[in-house]
């Protein structure tokens, strides 16, 4: 069997040999033949067994019937003979033989024979066939003559007929005997004729009780009767043994022996088996026909499937050229033909695709070559660089010519190396931001190898090169005309920017003038009414009240507007200093809180870190947000102000439960003059600039401001972030505790002039926090402070840090002598009244006290 082993396909797996269809079919045929052979053998064995069994049954039955018949014959004879022999009339017959009239009728198996009355001397008185010679002692000396009991003797040669007979003798007392002479020869054939020889060709055999003498036999009786056969024995169960002629027979024996005879019936074994043979031959013929049919079917299947498949596979492998359909031909099964058709279709598609791809690849090859040429021989400098490492990946000839570096030198450099050092920050900033897919920038200055610089315009776009994320750069030399054009563009851009600015200004002016017209209309209108009409005192009061209110509104508007302009224009100087946000928020709450309304909740942890802010500005933001929260909570909902550290910022929030802000307005509330357009807030007035100012202030601190609201009637939450004061900030030599940022600034400048460092705290709370962190050597203290007052701070300073720190008080407060005395007792070095030149005086006094202190310290240590 040829096994095909395809190692390539089964690589790495335990070898499992694949068989071809032909092998499978051969195996199938072998198995089929084997099974057929086994079946034939089994059929034959079964048939033989069956035949033996059937023959056995036949012989058992036949022997039994034969024995019964013999017994019935004897019984009939006995039934007739017994009474007859003992009948008294017998004497008359013996006396007068002429009165004797016997006739013999066949009894059962005893077909022929005769009945005689015999005297003791052996002479016959009368006989059934004919009237005998009554005088001759025919049966003289026969043993059965003188028996007192009926006897059966066999076989005996009848002296009269010469036949082998069985004698059944009944004694006739005093006279002789009544004897039956029954011919033995017909018994066997008679029995046989009764059953017929049948398929088993039965042999009937009767022997004497010891089995040695044949009494009768159905086959060739004349020859065998009386023959001594020396021990023909057989049990009652059918068994196979040779008969008298040596033929193998299956013998059965009757279950009883009539008159002591054995009755055997033998079936011809060969004949019985020949039946089985016939039967098994018929089965065999069926099997052979079946196998033949299977082989035929198999060969058809093979021809219709295996062969076409083989041819198809030859075509697929390419060892046979041509169409699969043609190769398979018309003999293939539908499936195979379909497979071939599909294969042809697949091949056609594959060929088509292949051709397509080949064309495409060729085109791609050509186009790649073209592009490479385009790059290599482009008249302007081009290169590719890796966007991560900034290394040159590829440069063209023009770049080498123009820049003077060799290709190797280029590839060892990054694109930073061709920029003048002073342009680097700008360049790094540009590439730090994600570059657009296609970008055109410039002019840039590039440095050539000889050290000179050129102006170039850069066109670049993102691409992938050798698995690098890269950018392809085209560097164009800036020509004179391009330079001019560029300058023109820049000046145009400036003009446009200016135009935009002036347009914005115009809009602002228009908006502001519009906002101002309403209060002005009231003021002017009521003034005119007051001047031209006679009014009642009540009306006058009402009109004047409105005029005052509108006048104030106008003032606030102008102030806010100017502030906004200053902050936006960067004209408002922010003086940043560390500050305690909790103290600031507390002051805001104190300013805005309505003593009769719902108290404002303060949620600021006491351990908040210091923030770095312009205190006045942030106070304004807090106050503005709180005042808005009150204004837009006409029904007096709870207001919460709080602060928390979020990431590296402090977030301050103001939350109310007031009118809220609709979602579509949330992004506009920080715009100038934006008002939420809803009737629920018609009576609420404002300049429309507060939140715009807040936004500007917070953003000037590097923070962000925002608002959330769940919608109308759901309240709002404004929040903004502030930067933390750096913990490492030095407290410096002198701590300036002063709420007037201008004066504080002046003082710090004077102290710096004297070689002293200083820190400014805009309120006493912040000053305390700063002193806790690092103790200043001296303090300049204002008394009138927001929140905690200067005197209280001084007391705590002395308690915390002792009397050693020199303190100079600079204040506008009018002190009576008692107050001054208290201060001096607290160890104040000097009390100065704020005014021109006082900053310088205070600085000098601080410097002096510090020098004295250090001298004292030197003395103490020296």
């Amino acid at each position: 069997m040829a096994l095909e082993h395809d190692g390539r396909e089964r690589r790495g797996r335990p070898a499992r040999q694949a068989w071809s269809l032909r092998n499978y079919m051969s195996l199938f045929m072998v198995v089929l033949l084997g099974v057929a052979g086994l079946a034939a053998f089994a059929v034959r064995s079964l048939a033989e067994m069956d035949a033996r069994h059937s023959a056995g049954e036949d012989v058992s039955f036949a022997s039994q019937r034969a024995a019964q018949q013999l017994q019935a014959g004897f019984d009939q004879i006995a039934a007739v003979s017994g009474p007859l022999a003992s009948d008294p009339s017998m004497a008359i017959v013996f006396a007068d033989p002429s009165k004797c009239h016997f006739g013999y009728a066949p009894i059962g198996a005893f077909a022929t024979g005769h009945i005689d009355l015999v005297r003791f001397d052996g002479s016959v008185v009368c006989s059934s066939p004919k009237s005998p010679d009554t005088t001759s002692p025919t049966y003289e000396g026969q043993a059965w003559l003188v028996t007192p009991q009926p006897v059966v003797v066999a076989p005996i040669k009848d002296p009269v007929t010469g036949n082998q007979v069985v004698v059944v003798s009944y004694p006739v007392p005093g006279h002789g005997a009544l004897a039956w002479f029954l011919d033995l020869a017909p018994i066997g054939p008679k029995l046989a004729s009764e059953f017929g020889s049948g398929v088993h060709q039965l042999e009937f055999l009767v022997t004497s009780g010891d089995g040695r003498t044949v009494v009768s036999r159905s086959i060739d009786p004349a020859r065998w009767i009386g023959r001594n056969v020396s021990g023909f024995v057989s049990g009652s169960a059918p068994a196979s043994q040779p008969d008298l002629n040596g033929t193998q027979r299956i013998y059965g024996r009757s279950t009883f022996d009539p008159v002591g005879w054995r009755v055997y019936v033998g079936a011809d074994e060969a004949a019985a088996l020949s039946v089985a043979d016939q039967l098994s031959n018929r089965s065999l013929a069926i099997i052979v026909v079946g196998v033949g049919l299977m082989l035929l079917v198999t060969s058809i299947v093979y021809r219709r499937i295996a062969e076409p498949v083989r041819r198809l596979s030859l075509v697929m492998r390419g060892s046979t050229a041509g169409d699969a359909v043609k190769a398979v031909g018309t003999t293939g099964a539908t499936e195979v033909t379909n497979l071939a058709r599909d294969f042809d279709r697949l091949m056609a598609t594959v060929k088509h695709e292949l051709a397509d791809r080949l064309t495409r690849e060729q085109k791609a090859l050509v186009s790649e070559r073209n592009y490479r040429l385009l790059f290599e021989s482009h008249p302007q400098a081009m290169w590719l660089y890796d966007v991560h490492t900034l290394r040159f990946l590829k440069v063209n000839d023009a770049a080498i010519d123009r820049y003077g570096y060799s290709r190797e030198e280029f590839l060892a450099m990054t694109i930073k190396d061709i920029r003048p050092p002073q342009d680097l920050p700008k360049f790094l900033e540009l590439i730090a931001t994600p570059q657009p897919q296609l970008d055109k920038t410039g002019p840039w200055r590039h440095r050539l190898k000889d050290g000179s610089t050129v102006q170039v315009l850069i066109t670049s776009h993102s691409t992938t090169f050798d698995e690098h994320e890269a950018r392809l750069v085209l560097a164009e030399d800036l020509t004179e005309s391009q330079q001019l054009e560029l300058e023109l563009q820049q000046s145009q851009a400036r003009v446009e920017a200016n135009a935009e600015l002036s347009k914005a200004k115009d809009e602002m002016v228009s908006m502001v003038s519009h906002e101002m017209r309403t209060p002005l209309a009231s003021i002017v209108g009521f003034a005119e009414l007051l001047v031209t009409r006679k009014v009642t005192p009540d009306q006058r009061a009402e009109y004047l009240g409105v005029m005052l209110q509108e006048g104030r509104r106008l003032t606030a508007l102008i102030n806010d507007f100017l502030d906004l302009r200053r902050i936006e224009g960067g004209q408002l100087t922010m003086r940043f200093a560390p500050a305690d946000i909790k103290a600031l928020i507390k002051r805001g709450v104190a300013l805005i809180a309505d003593p009769e309304g719902v108290p404002i909740q303060l949620r600021v942890p006491s351990n908040m870190p210091l923030v770095r802010i312009d205190g006045d500005s942030i106070f304004r933001v807090v106050a503005n947000l709180l005042s808005n929260a009150r204004k837009y909570s006409p029904d007096g909902g709870e207001i919460v102000v709080g602060a928390a550290v979020v990431a590296d910022m402090v977030e301050v929030y103001v939350q109310d439960q007031g009118l809220g802000i609709p979602a579509d307005a949330l992004s506009h509330v920080f715009r100038r003059f934006f008002r939420v357009d809803n009737p629920d807030r018609i009576g609420i007035k404002g300049t429309g600039l507060g939140l715009a100012i807040c936004k500007n202030i917070v953003e000037a601190h590097g923070g962000t401001i925002g608002v959330e609201s769940d919608g109308l009637g759901k309240g709002a939450r404004f929040h903004f972030t502030l930067p933390l004061a750096r913990e490492t900030a030095r407290t410096g030599d002198v701590l300036v505790v002063e709420d007037d940022s201008g004066f504080a600034h002046l003082l710090q400048a004077e102290l710096t002039g004297l070689g002293l460092s200083s820190t400014w705290a805009a309120d006493a709370e912040t000053a305390e926090r700063l002193m806790m962190r690092k103790i200043a050597r001296a303090v300049v203290l204002d008394l009138l402070l927001p929140g905690l007052q200067g005197e209280a701070f001084l007391d705590r300073l002395r308690i915390e840090h002792g009397a050693g720190i020199p303190v100079v008080v600079v204040t506008q407060k009018d002190l009576d002598p008692a107050e001054s005395l208290v201060l001096y007792k607290a160890g104040v070095t000097a009390i100065l009244r704020k005014g021109p030149g006082m900053a310088e005086t205070a600085a000098r006094m601080i410097a002096k006290s510090l020098t004295a202190e250090s001298q004292a310290a030197e003395l103490a240590t020296g």
């Binding site: 017209r517 009231s522 002017v524 209108g525 031209t532 357009d677």
Partner: protein, 132 residues
């Protein structure tokens, strides 16, 4: 909204004043206050339109910039309804641009006053409008 109702209501002509600023409503009201008019005030455009429909006034004084419906919208509603053909409208505005004045007049306003205005002028315009 405030309604000052003189005794002889039937013979009086109703004037609706619509402005979101209470001070302006007070000023206008004080200016035209007389026994000849019944004055009705509205604080926004929607209320103004409701008042106009309810009182069917002879004259409406409309502020152009109001929350809800602007004065110009209310003006268009009035002019679109033929049953208000006799209703006169005076626009009051803080907008000084000429385009606004034009669009107001095109929309059918009878007069146009720019804030700040003289109350005496206003009175003159009101009387003129009602005599038209």
């Amino acid at each position: 909204m405030r309604i000052r109702t003189p005794a002889a209501l039937q013979v009086l002509r109703t004037v609706v004043i619509a402005d979101d600023e209470s001070s302006m409503r007070l000023l206008v009201h004080a200016t035209i206050e007389s026994d000849d008019y019944c004055v009705v005030e509205a604080a926004d455009g929607a209320e103004a339109w409701a008042m106009v429909q309810k009182h069917r006034p002879a004259l409406v004084l409309l502020d152009v910039q109001m929350p809800g419906r602007s004065g110009l919208e209310v003006l268009r509603l009035i002019k679109a309804d033929p049953t208000f053909a006799a209703t006169r409208v005076i626009l009051l505005t803080a907008k000084a641009q000429e385009t606004d004045i034009e669009s107001g007049l095109i929309a059918g306003a009878d007069f146009y006053l720019t804030k700040p205005f003289s109350p005496l002028d206003l009175l003159t315009r009101v009387e003129e409008a009602l005599q038209l």
